[in-house]
Structures are given as structure tokens and as C-alpha cells.
């Protein structure tokens, strides 16, 4: 505090003569300069002689502060806050969009996976039915072939049997003719045949 007082004292000789014309406040001003430290003076906050100076400097400082806040600081800070809010909002929108994109991609992946699975099933099914069809075809062909061969063979057997049976009747007729000829004498071929046939028919 002594620094202030000595500073004030140092200033006074230079200022007082120059401002000599304004005597009324000069006297109190000097008192104030020393009065702060001395006991018995006015209680400083209630000393009216310091009021003009305090009001004057408060006005200057507060107007400067107000202008600085209104023109510079508040716009700057609200710009920062708005920019941040805008950035956060736009990034949220971007994130929302990216999420939608991801969802679409996942959906299309799922769809193509399902399609591929369906296709694979179809191919498997087709192949299976084709193979089964082919097997069926071959089996049918083989069966038909076997049936044909069987039929041929049966036919052949029937033919052979028929031929054999024909021969039997011829042999029987000849044998009968021969037997009858030996026993009875010559008999007409037709009679023998009819007799053999009659016997054969009766046997059957």
C-alpha cells in the first residue's frame, strides 16, 4: 500500500499547480490521498469526495466491458456453441444415414444369401430328380429288354413244344398205322389220323 501513497505524493507537485484553478475538490482530494491510511478520517466507503472518481472510472470500465462483451465475446462464444450444436446434429444425421445404409446392406446380404440357398436347393433337387429319372429310364429299358427276351424264350419254348407235340401226333399216327397194318392190314391214312385224333381228344 505504501507504494500507492508514495506514487500519489510523487504525482501531486506536478499536477496541483496546473489544476490550481479547481480549488474546491483539490483540498479534499489531497486529504483522501493521505486519509486512507490515517485513522480518524471518514470511513473510506462513505467518503463522498471519492465518489466522482469512482463513478467516472466505473463508467469507463463498465462501458468498455459492455462493448467488448456485446460486440466480441458473446458473439464469439455463441458462435462456438452453435457451431458445436450444428456439428453434433449433422453428425447424428450422418450416423443415422450410415446406420440405415448398414441395415440395407445387411438386408440385401440376407436376401442374396437366401436366394443362393434356394438356388442350391433347386439345383440339388433338379439333379436328384434327373438322376432318379435316368435310373428309372434305364431300369425300364432293362426290364423291357428282359421282358422281350423272356417273351422270345417263352415263344421259342412254345414253338418247340408245339413242334414236338406235332411230331408226337405224327409219330402216333405212323406208329398206329404201322401197328394197325401189322395187325389188321392196310388202313387208310385218314381213318388212322381221325382215330388218333379222337383218342387224343378223348384223353385231353
Amino acid at each position: 500500500m505504501s507504494w500507492f501513497i508514495s506514487q500519489a505524493n510523487a504525482q501531486q507537485p506536478a499536477v496541483v499547480p496546473a489544476e490550481g484553478g479547481h480549488a474546491p475538490t483539490e483540498a479534499t482530494g489531497t486529504t483522501v490521498a493521505h486519509g486512507g491510511g490515517e485513522h480518524g478520517g471518514t470511513f473510506p466507503p462513505f467518503d463522498p469526495s471519492t465518489f466522482p472518481s469512482q463513478l467516472f472510472w466505473l463508467a469507463i470500465v463498465f462501458i468498455a466491458l459492455y462493448v467488448l462483451m456485446a460486440k466480441k465475446v458473446i458473439p464469439q462464444i455463441s458462435d462456438i456453441l452453435e457451431a458445436r450444436a450444428a456439428k453434433i446434429a449433422s453428425e447424428l444425421v450422418e450416423a443415422e444415414r450410415a446406420k440405415a445404409e448398414t441395415d440395407t446392406a445387411i438386408a440385401s446380404y440376407e436376401a442374396s444369401l437366401a436366394a443362393a440357398r434356394n438356388k442350391a436347393n433347386a439345383i440339388a433337387h433338379e439333379t436328384r430328380s434327373k438322376v432318379a429319372h435316368e435310373i428309372d429310364g434305364r431300369r425300364h429299358a432293362a426290364e423291357a429288354q428282359l421282358a422281350a427276351k423272356l417273351a422270345d424264350t417263352e415263344q421259342h419254348i412254345a414253338d418247340v413244344k408245339k413242334i414236338a407235340l406235332d411230331h408226337v401226333s405224327a409219330i402216333a399216327t405212323e406208329t398206329t398205322e404201322a401197328v394197325v397194318e401189322a395187325l389188321v392190314g392196310k388202313v387208310g391214312r385218314d381213318e388212322v389220323t381221325a382215330a388218333v385224333a379222337a383218342v387224343s381228344v378223348g384223353k385231353h
Binding site: M1, F4, I5, Q7, A8, Q11, Q12, V15, V16, E19, H22, P24, T25, E26, T28, G29, V32, A33, G35, G36, G37, E38, H39, F43, P44, P45, F46, D47, S49, T50, F51, P52, S53, Q54, L55, F56, W57, L58, A59, V61, F62, A64, L65, Y66, L68, M69, A70, K72, V73, I74, Q76, I77, S78, D79, I80, L81, A83, R84, K87
Partner: protein, 252 residues
């Protein structure tokens, strides 16, 4: 008590640094003026430096600037609504000035600008004149409804109006005296207890032990005074916001 080291009033003394006289008025540059300018410089430094980088993720200085701004903006918005934001520069300037001046006062050997009633009265009158002038400018005579609350029986309207007028007139007084008295009383109390420490330690070993108690008190009071420094700045601000709300929306 004449000893400068223990005189609790000495800290409030105003000393001229540069004599200035304008038209018969003594407007000398004093220690009070010096600390007003230091207050302004500190606010400007922190807020301009803090808001100059404009980072999306704020650094320390920017956080301080943003927190101060949002604290005042929220206080104002809650008390006076969105339309109250036009007073943001005034309210923000008041809050920053009172807070910084109060906190500066806590630094040893620093002068407390807000411990002088003329300063707090000037700020309080600035608020009240703003409220009154803007209230009449925006609402015309409707502003007078402030003194006649709706829903009051006719019989007691004169009484209520009288009370409302007294309440309105006492606002600048309470605003000014609350801040001034808190800062003054706090600093006197601190200085008195600190003075006990100085006086007792000069009494030898016994006094040295006795000085421990006021020393602890000084430490505790210093913490309390930091709280008061912030709290009074906040109280001044929120009351300003509530008075501004009356100017914006006079019907209770």
C-alpha cells in the same frame, strides 16, 4: 489501531495515483480505478483468449469462457425466458465484473472494487433504470400492472399496491447494500482475525500459541470469503434477471 498492519479499515482507503480534474470534478486515477481496469483486463484476457480458438472440443481457457457464458445464459433464460436473452450482454458484463472484482479482492494487498457502496449502487441503479425504462418502453402503462397484482380483492388493492411500490423502490437499495456489505464485512472480519494473529505473536511464546486459534479462523474465513465472492456475484446476477423478467412480463 493506528498501525497499518492491523487496521481493518485501511484496506478500503482510496489513494490517488494520477491527479485528474475535469470541470471541477475530481476524477483522479486511484487504486480503485487501477483495480477496475485490472478487472476489465483480466476478463478480456480470459474471455478473448478463451473464445479465440473456436475449437469444437474446448481447451481449458475455452471451457472457462463457455462455462461462464452458459452459466449466465441459463440463469437469464430460466428467470426471464428466451426474450430475456437480449439483455445477455448486460447481465454477462455485470456477472463477470462483480465476480472478477470480488475474487481480485481476495488477493492480499489487492483493492476490492465492490467494497465501496458507490460502485455497487451505480451497478444496482444501472439495473433498475434498465428495468424501468425498458419496462415502460416495451409495455407502456401496462408496466404499472407490476404494482397491481391480478386476482387481489379490490378492498386491499391500495395496500398491496403500496407494498409493491415500496418493494420496487427498495430493490436498488437491497441490491447495492447486499453486495457492498458482504464484501466489506468479509474483508473486515478477515483483517480483524489476521490482526489478532499479528498482535498475539508479538506477546512472546504464550501469545504465539494463542495466535493459532485466530490463524485457523483466518484460513476458514478465507475459504468462506471465496464462496461469498462467487455467491454474491451470482445473487446480484439472478436478482438482475428476475427484475428484467418484470420488465419483460409485467403481469405477475
Amino acid at each position: 489501531m493506528a498501525d497499518v498492519r492491523t487496521d481493518p479499515i485501511h484496506q478500503f482507503g482510496i489513494h490517488k495515483l494520477v491527479d485528474i480534474n475535469i470541470d471541477g470534478y475530481d476524477v483522479s486515477f486511484t487504486n480503485s480505478s487501477l483495480f477496475m481496469i485490472l478487472t476489465l483486463a483480466a476478463i478480456a484476457l480470459v474471455l478473448l483468449w478463451g473464445s479465440s480458438s473456436r475449437a469444437v472440443v474446448p481447451g481449458r481457457a475455452q471451457s472457462v469462457a463457455e462455462l461462464s457464458y452458459e452459466f449466465v445464459a441459463n440463469t437469464l433464460r430460466n428467470a426471464a425466458g428466451e426474450s430475456g436473452m437480449r439483455f445477455m450482454p448486460l447481465v454477462f458484463s455485470l456477472f463477470m465484473f462483480v465476480l472478477t472484482a470480488n475474487i481480485f479482492g481476495m488477493v492480499p494487498y489487492f483493492f476490492t472494487v465492490t467494497s465501496h457502496i458507490i460502485v455497487t449502487a451505480a451497478l444496482a441503479l444501472l439495473v433498475i433504470f434498465t428495468v424501468t425504462i425498458y419496462g415502460f418502453y416495451k409495455n407502456g402503462t401496462h408496466f404499472l400492472k407490476l404494482f397491481v397484482p391480478s386476482g387481489v380483492p379490490m378492498a386491499i388493492v391500495p395496500l398491496v399496491t403500496l407494498i409493491e411500490i415500496i418493494s420496487f423502490l427498495s430493490r436498488p437499495l437491497s441490491l447495492a447494500v447486499r453486495l457492498f456489505a458482504n464484501m466489506l464485512a468479509g474483508h473486515i472480519t478477515l483483517k480483524v482475525f489476521a490482526g489478532f494473529v499479528v498482535t498475539l505473536t508479538s506477546l512472546g511464546a504464550f501469545g504465539f500459541l494463542g495466535a493459532l486459534l485466530p490463524l485457523i479462523m483466518v484460513v476458514a474465513l478465507t475459504a468462506l470469503e471465496f464462496l461469498v465472492a462467487f455467491l454474491q456475484a451470482y445473487v446480484f446476477t439472478i436478482l438482475t434477471c428476475m427484475y428484467l423478467n418484470d420488465a419483460l412480463h409485467p403481469g405477475h
